[in-house]
């Protein structure tokens, strides 16, 4: 008998470590022939700690299971949710990037290979750099970090640049509220990120890589560091990748608590040991990036999707999706939602389906009021925009952005003026300080919202003007996009900004 328990942070946050320990003790006490295997997460966070028991007829799911319930579970006194992969939330997904996450032991390279791992890299090793980049272009893969820039085109710029050293930098700073896909893949299937980075190295001529991740992710850092060592010992990394004579090696680096360091040029400064101030572009990081050398900066999910593209072929990947949003997107459903978690699907599913049908509405049971999509710089959408298909262009047309594909659901008790104020406050705290509209504007924004809250309806116009100034005069999207949540809250719920309310306590 095999028993699977996730080691993902979200499972641990609900006591998965204690459950695994209790299982181990019971197995010994009862003299059972059973093995407890720690996996990544299946992404159904509301069911964590999820225990899967395979007694020969597939992985049966139980959850949430507490440590106290473990004896009853082993006695057969807890109802099963059925086969994990038949739970509707799971069955409705198209898992390409997350195919192995939750299924395998994240630190078993043998498990990884048995489930399709390294097939993509082996294929890439047979191709020229140009053919590798063409494959990525054909797949239609666009950056999953937020801007949606075509990954193949970025790689091509680095490929064609001349330099003695080029770099692959993985952006694992994942600071957006409502997002955790990067964390889940790093904790649940780290080799896929490593494999993607090696392929990026082969395609561009880069031999060194860095994963820059946040200090708020100690579990992910631990798994990544161990995975890099395992990959190195097995010859996946090092001077002779899988015996090909080609070199690629990488390191894990940790940020120090600065949201802006997720912006790629700020990240590069931070990686170099400088203040995380945003650099003006040009020069593009692809030409003058880390230490002034040509550098690919890609999000975790962009890179972690590369192996499956090479394993199954670019044409296979490009068949999924909608218009210019090709392939699949791991959508993170979070906040006040009944069924929160990670849902990977082809682009195109309407927002309302994701929130109400997949997510099951709010956790509180109250009506859904608004959803913030794409992190602290993303717009709030009310119910009237729930028909919007999940895609880059479709969200743009509706005055929003998909960002890193996190959805934060709010019920009808949400105070939208408070959320607008928070957006400005966050921008003020996290601004790198380079441009005045961002640094000073955000502070003014907080003050203006306080005036509106105190009853000064005329300040609404001031707020709108201020947002315009921030949009036009900011170097990066922190100052430039903070107006999205602010203005969308104002436009969708104008009555809450009417200036007639009593001053907030």
């Amino acid at each position: 008998m095999k028993i699977y328990v996730s080691r993902d942070s979200a499972a641990k946050a609900f006591g998965a470590d204690e459950v695994a320990e209790a299982l181990q003790e019971e197995i010994v006490a009862r003299g059972l022939r059973a093995e407890v295997i720690r996996t990544g997460s299946r992404g159904m966070v509301w069911l964590e700690p999820l225990v899967e028991i395979d007694a020969g007829r597939g992985r049966m799911a139980y959850g949430p299971v507490s440590a106290e319930e473990v004896p009853a579970l082993l006695d057969g006194n807890i109802d099963s949710l059925g086969l994990t992969e038949e739970i509707p939330f799971f069955a409705r997904q198209t898992r390409l990037t997350f195919a192995r996450c939750g299924l395998t032991d994240p630190l078993s390279l043998a498990d990884y290979e048995a489930h399709g791992g390294l097939a993509g890299l082996r294929r890439a090793l047979e191709l020229s750099a140009e053919a590798i980049v063409d494959e990525v272009k054909t797949s239609g893969l666009r950056g999953r970090g937020g801007a949606g820039f075509p990954t193949g085109i970025k790689w091509d710029t680095v490929r064609m640049a001349h330099a003695d050293q080029k770099y692959i930098v993985c952006n694992a700073d994942e600071g957006d509220s409502g997002t955790f896909a990067d964390r889940m893949i790093m904790e649940g299937d780290p080799f896929t990120l490593i494999e993607g980075m090696v392929i990026a190295g082969l395609g561009t001529g880069a031999t060194r890589g860095y994963v820059y991740t946040r200090s708020e992710y100690p579990d992910a850092i631990e798994v990544m560091e161990e995975a890099v060592q395992i990959a190195r010992a097995a010859g996946v990394l090092g001077p002779d990748v899988l015996g090909s004579g080609r070199a690629f090696d990488m390191e894990i680096r940790m940020g120090a608590g600065a949201y802006v360091c997720g912006e790629e040029t700020s990240l590069l400064n931070s990686l170099e040991g400088k203040r995380g101030v945003v650099r003006a572009k040009p020069p593009l990081p692809a030409l003058e990036g880390f230490l002034g050398r040509p550098t690919v900066v890609n999000n975790v999910i962009s890179l972690a999707t590369v192996p499956v593209i090479f394993e199954k072929g670019a044409a296979f990947y490009a068949e999924f999706g909608l218009g210019r949003s090709k392939g699949t997107i791991p959508i993170q459903i979070a906040g006040n939602v009944a069924h929160g978690g990670l849902f990977e699907t082809a682009f195109g599913m309407p927002l309302g389906t994701l929130v109400n049908d997949i997510g099951g509405g709010t956790a509180s049971g109250r009506p859904v009021k608004a959803v913030q999509i794409g992190g602290p710089l993303g717009a709030y959408f009310g119910q009237e925009k729930f028909d919007t298909p999940f895609g880059y262009e479709d969200f743009d047309v509706q005055g929003g952005l998909i960002g890193h594909a996190g959805l934060v659901v709010f019920d009808d008790s949400a105070d939208m003026m408070k959320m607008a104020r928070f957006a400005m406050e966050f921008c003020a705290v996290e601004s790198c300080g380079k441009c005045t509209p961002c640094r000073i504007g955000a502070v003014r924004g907080v003050e203006t919202l306080d005036r509106i809250a105190a009853g000064d309806g005329a300040a609404v116009e001031l707020l709108t003007d201020l947002c315009e100034t921030m949009k036009d005069g900011s170097l990066c999207a922190l100052g430039g996009f903070t107006p999205y949540p602010v203005l969308s809250a104002l436009e969708t719920f104008p009555e809450e900004f009417a200036g007639t309310r009593e001053a907030a306590e």
Partner: protein, 154 residues
């Protein structure tokens, strides 16, 4: 508290990282991990080793929220204040935890036991409100759960 770090100890930590490309952040993290804060005495030594000015090193330290100039309490509790946690009542929860401990954000209890820090997202947004206590994660936090966890601390 721990004795003042010696120049020798600092040199040893520096030595572990000087071969890296971009060694400053790894050095600062290692120093803080070792001593619990960034000792002021280390700054000129870091600057010297990296060929930077003291002002440059100080500028880097002050840019990042993580680095502390003085030791924290014996335990550090990070409460998430970002949007997904707010949607599940993190503001009210934080208010109660802070008043329970009698501290404000960044404050340490008078017995030196617990420091409370704000954090903006722990990647636990589907199990909000979330918190991290000494590097260990907690989800769907309530006042009762928080009280229980905090009372168990030495």
């Amino acid at each position: 508290m721990d004795p003042q770090p010696t120049a020798e100890e600092i040199r040893e930590i520096l030595g572990k990282h000087l071969h890296l490309e971009g060694p400053l952040l790894p050095i600062l993290h290692d120093l803080q991990d070792t001593f619990g804060y960034l000792p002021q005495e280390a700054v000129p030594q870091i600057a010297g080793a990296l060929n930077l000015s003291v002002a440059e090193v100080t500028g880097v330290i002050s840019f990042y929220h993580d680095f502390r100039k003085a030791p924290a309490g014996r335990h550090v509790l990070k409460l998430c204040r970002a949007e997904a946690c707010q949607s599940m009542g993190s503001d009210a929860l934080a208010d109660r935890v802070l008043s329970l401990l009698g501290v404000d954000w960044h404050g340490t209890t008078t017995d030196g036991r617990i420091t409370v820090e704000p954090v903006y997202c722990l990647g636990l947004c589907a199990c909000a409100p979330a918190a991290m206590l000494d590097g260990r994660v907690h989800g769907a936090l309530t006042e009762a759960k928080a009280t229980k966890i905090l009372e168990a601390l030495a």
